[in-house]
């Protein structure tokens, strides 16, 4: 009998640690070779760790939500084979030393985008308040009633945890510490149960990313209205004539083309700001991140080299990436490398938003809801299809003037879509 130690393999270039997001095995399970042991999440992608051997799981390292260093022990498997490989040092450090001779070639990690089903199963805590119908007299011992009276507490406001909803000294103390609740209106009941949801995996990544962006980047947001009547007519005409193999065009490909045009004139906006190093890297290629809602949360697949794609190309790539992001099959490559980002909530897009910059980028363009509004054309009100753009910029490296010029350029290009296709 031998023991085999499975360590967290190198799951991606430059990745030093990964978050454990799911265990597929527990101690005592029998695994065969290539059975999945655990899922870990790196920068953006979830990686499945398969078992390199067959045997019984005798130890698992870490809990879901833990951050595990590359190379540290993940599981120990009791194998039926010889004892030559059976080195099971108890500590991670020694395991690393023992690694060369004990570790066979790990099975190739399968990299996948986050799965929709993340370990966020809500855990319900027991409700603290026993039910008492509105207006019903509270039950409490004389001593509790006296203490409440002296503390100026109306026991009708206090939930009882005892049998039959009896209010105990502890309930009263908890109430005094917590303060009164708003009383429930007639026919309504107050609910005091609390559901704990552990923030792990993609949600934790999103939380960290958002906190990083908002804490580091002083945002400036510009909201501008765009008359998209002409654009919509063009879009309708193109979609009407479109061949069956071509995707339906949304506003997005036009906006992507407009961004390509605009950043060609204002390269400072298509850049990453390495604020630790104090370097802004301006990119010639325009890699547009498309903020996409998936069942698991927000992900940003990237349309690479938008400058080299035509409208349909952009549309096809957006559709492909959105599909892969939503079904969880987007690759790590699909999800990294953006230099500027578009965020659109479609019909939910509201009048204005304050988009959060996708750090370390310096600009994000938010698309608001399209609506027909009366616009003054100089002599009369005319119904026009209007759409707002809410764009945020990193004010450390982008001045308000440049930001405004960029937004005006987008407006110009979208209002007169022919400009998108004319070489200036």
């Amino acid at each position: 009998m031998g023991e085999h130690v499975v360590k967290l393999p190198d799951v991606g270039e430059g990745v030093a640690e990964a978050e454990l997001v799911e265990w597929h095995v527990k101690v005592g399970d029998i695994v065969r070779e290539d059975d999945l042991l655990a899922s870990v999440m790196t920068d953006k992608a979830t990686v499945e760790i398969p078992s390199p051997v067959e045997g019984e799981i005798i130890w698992t390292g870490g809990e879901v939500g833990d951050t595990v260093a590359i190379g540290s022990e993940l599981v120990r498997v009791k194998t039926a084979g010889g004892s030559a490989e059976s080195k099971a040092p108890p500590k991670a450090e020694t395991a690393r030393a023992a690694a060369p001779e004990s570790k066979p070639e790990p099975a190739a990690p399968q990299t996948r985008a986050p799965k929709p089903e993340l370990p966020m199963a809500p855990r319900k805590t027991a409700p603290v308040a026993a039910r008492r119908a509105p207006g019903e007299r509270p039950i409490a011992s004389p001593a509790v009633r006296l203490a409440a009276r002296e503390a100026g507490v109306d026991l009708r406001q206090v939930a009882g945890s005892g049998p039959a909803g009896r209010i105990t000294h502890e309930d009263l103390e908890a109430f005094l510490a917590r303060g009164p609740d708003t009383p429930a209106a007639a026919g309504l009941t107050r609910r005091t149960d609390v559901t704990e949801v552990k923030v792990v995996g993609l949600r934790r990544r999103i939380a960290e990313k958002m906190a990083l962006s908002k804490s580091r980047i002083p945002h400036i947001t510009i909201v501008e209205e765009v008359d998209v009547t002409a654009l919509e007519e063009l879009r309708a005409a193109l979609n009407k004539k479109a061949a069956a193999d071509r995707p339906k065009l949304t506003v997005l490909p036009f906006l992507m083309r407009a961004i390509v045009r605009a950043v060609a004139e204002l390269p400072a906006l298509n850049a990453l700001f390495d604020d630790d190093a104090g370097i802004v890297r301006q990119y010639a290629g325009v890699h547009i991140g498309i903020a996409t809602q998936t069942p698991a949360g927000l992900v940003v697949p990237v349309v690479k080299h938008a400058e080299a794609r035509n409208l349909w190309d952009c549309a096809t790539e957006v559709a492909r990436l959105a599909e892969r992001a939503r079904d969880g099959s987007a690759s790590r490559d699909d999800l990294t490398g953006s230099t500027i980002t578009i965020t659109s909530l479609g019909p939910l897009g509201a009048i204005a938003t304050t988009p959060v910059i996708n750090h370390p980028e310096v600009a994000i363009v938010g698309v608001n809801r399209m609506a027909v509004r009366p616009m003054w054309d100089g002599t009369a009100f005319a119904p026009r299809k209007m759409m707002n753009l809410s764009s945020s910029f990193d004010h450390r490296v982008i001045d308000g003037w440049d930001a405004a010029v960029f937004v005006q350029r987008l407006k110009e290009l979208l209002e007169t879509p022919a400009l998108l296709f004319v070489d200036a």
Binding site: A130, I139, S141, P142, R149, E150, G152, P163, A164, G165
Partner: protein, 463 residues
């Protein structure tokens, strides 16, 4: 006129008044109490205490008579028992005297000044007390009216030599040969039962169709049976009409006129508030059918004027008055207090005794409550058997949903002492499981309480 001033003036030294004054004294309030009669009020002088003394003697005498008649179930015998009623009353008076002195001592210990005389309001803060030695003007920041209640007199049966109130009955120096009682409430039946045991031929006249109308029929049935055994005639649905040459004229339920020959007639048809001579007309007090209306802090419609006890209406019970008195003293001392009691137990010292705390099943149902009821009969109690008295039962009523005990009643010999357990259970918010899960000492009547709770839960052990 002598003038004194104080923080708190209590009018009436019955159970409510004297407890209020003692508690106020304990709390350091400068307190004066006024009493026109004897300390202790109705309860101590002409109510609870002397009646229980007479009832006790009657019970003892009944045991001897049963033995003398060869009817003892357990082989006790005696010959020709007699009761020297003069000594009975002397013994009773001695108890009352001791308690009178006790109350006086307690008031002194609490540094309460006692004035003997009739109090009369001049205004809400000023009271004139007419004592034997002259008038005293008392200026008080706060006044508590605890003037109590007195028996109601029927206009066609004025109290006199033959017609007496409960006070008169307790002052009798000999056992009446024939005693007619008007009113089958607890006072009439307690005294009627005692005099029946002491040898009177007792007839009870009640206008309503049943005895003890305040209690449900299940509880009163054992009492009715026992009255019959004792030879007490009970006329239900009958109207007392007048007194005619040593006889009480009655219109019975079937409409026929009847004469009940009686040496004494005891009228126990209720009690009225005592407010005569107080000068309440000088105050602006809201009344409710003659009783002083109070709020949940026992304050009257006048600020700084409180009322406690029987003068505030039903339930007219000494222990209610005491609790009110204690509460008011604490309120006057600045403590936050409100009447928040869940139950006021009530007892009939009939044979067998009845005790009730909280709601009866009927009352609970009337309050739209889904209930569980558990009844445990004393016929299944070893202790009841060994006392040769298996009459009665304990009955527990609880909410069906959460088993909160809503009410407990019992009827049986000696069950008055169970009132403490019943009251505590309800006041503490006990559930059936709490009562069932408490070890009750064996062999006692109290075990029947636990068994009744188990019965309501569906798993009584001894039935």
């Amino acid at each position: 006129m002598e003038e004194i001033s104080c923080r708190l003036l209590v009018i009436g030294a019955g159970p409510g008044g004297y407890v209020c004054a003692i508690r106020a004294g304990q709390l350091g309030l400068d307190t004066v109490i006024v009493e026109r009669g004897r300390l202790g009020g109705t309860c101590l002088n002409v109510g609870c205490i002397p009646s229980k003394a007479i009832i006790h003697v009657a019970e003892e005498f009944e045991v001897l008579k049963t033995a003398a008649a060869g009817k003892s179930a357990f082989g006790l015998s005696t010959a020709e028992p007699r009761v020297e009623f003069a000594r009975t009353t002397a013994w009773k008076d001695e108890i009352v005297q001791r308690l009178n002195n006790g109350v006086g001592g307690l008031l002194r210990k609490a540094q309460v000044k006692t004035l003997h005389g009739q109090a009369r309001f001049r205004d809400g803060k000023t009271v004139v007390v007419e004592t034997e030695t002259g008038s005293t003007l008392v200026r008080a920041e706060t006044v508590v009216i605890a003037s109590g209640s007195a028996p109601v007199e029927l206009p066609f049966l004025p109290f006199g030599d033959e017609v007496m109130s409960s006070t008169g009955a307790l002052a009798l120096t000999e056992v009446p040969g024939r005693l007619a009682i008007v009113g089958a409430g607890y006072i009439g039946l307690e005294l009627g039962t005692a005099f029946a045991k002491l040898g009177s031929k007792v007839t009870v006249v009640e206008a309503l169709p049943r005895i003890l109308p305040a209690y449900d029929a299940e509880l009163t049935a054992p009492v009715a049976r026992r009255l019959h055994e004792l030879g007490v005639e009970v006329l239900l649905g009958a109207q007392a009409q007048s007194l005619e040459r040593g006889a009480l004229k009655v219109k019975s339920a079937d409409g026929k006129a009847r004469k009940i020959a009686a040496d004494k007639i005891l009228v126990t048809v209720g009690r009225r508030p005592v407010v005569d001579g107080l000068g309440l007309e000088e105050l602006v007090l809201d009344l409710d059918r003659g009783f002083i209306r109070i709020d949940e802090r026992c304050e009257t419609s006048m600020r700084g004027v409180y009322a406690i006890g029987d003068v505030t209406g039903e339930p007219m019970l000494a222990h209610r008055a005491m609790a009110q008195g204690e509460m008011v003293a604490e309120i006057v001392a600045g403590h936050a207090r409100t009447w928040d009691k869940r139950c006021i137990p009530a007892i009939c010292f009939t044979d067998p005794e009845i005790v009730s705390a909280g709601l009866s099943p009927d009352e609970a149902r009337a309050a739209n409550q889904e209930i569980k009821v558990g009844v445990f009969p004393f016929s299944a109690s070893g202790r009841a058997m060994s006392r040769a008295n298996e009459r009665g039962f304990v009955r527990v009523t609880a909410r069906a949903d959460n088993h909160l005990v809503l009410g407990i009643q019992a009827v049986g010999q000696g069950v008055s002492e169970l009132s403490t357990a019943f009251g505590l259970a309800i006041e503490m918010g006990a559930t059936l499981e709490d009562v069932a899960g408490t070890i009750h000492a064996h062999p006692t009547l109290g075990e029947s309480f636990q068994e009744a709770a188990l019965k309501a839960l569906g798993h009584a052990l001894h039935i």
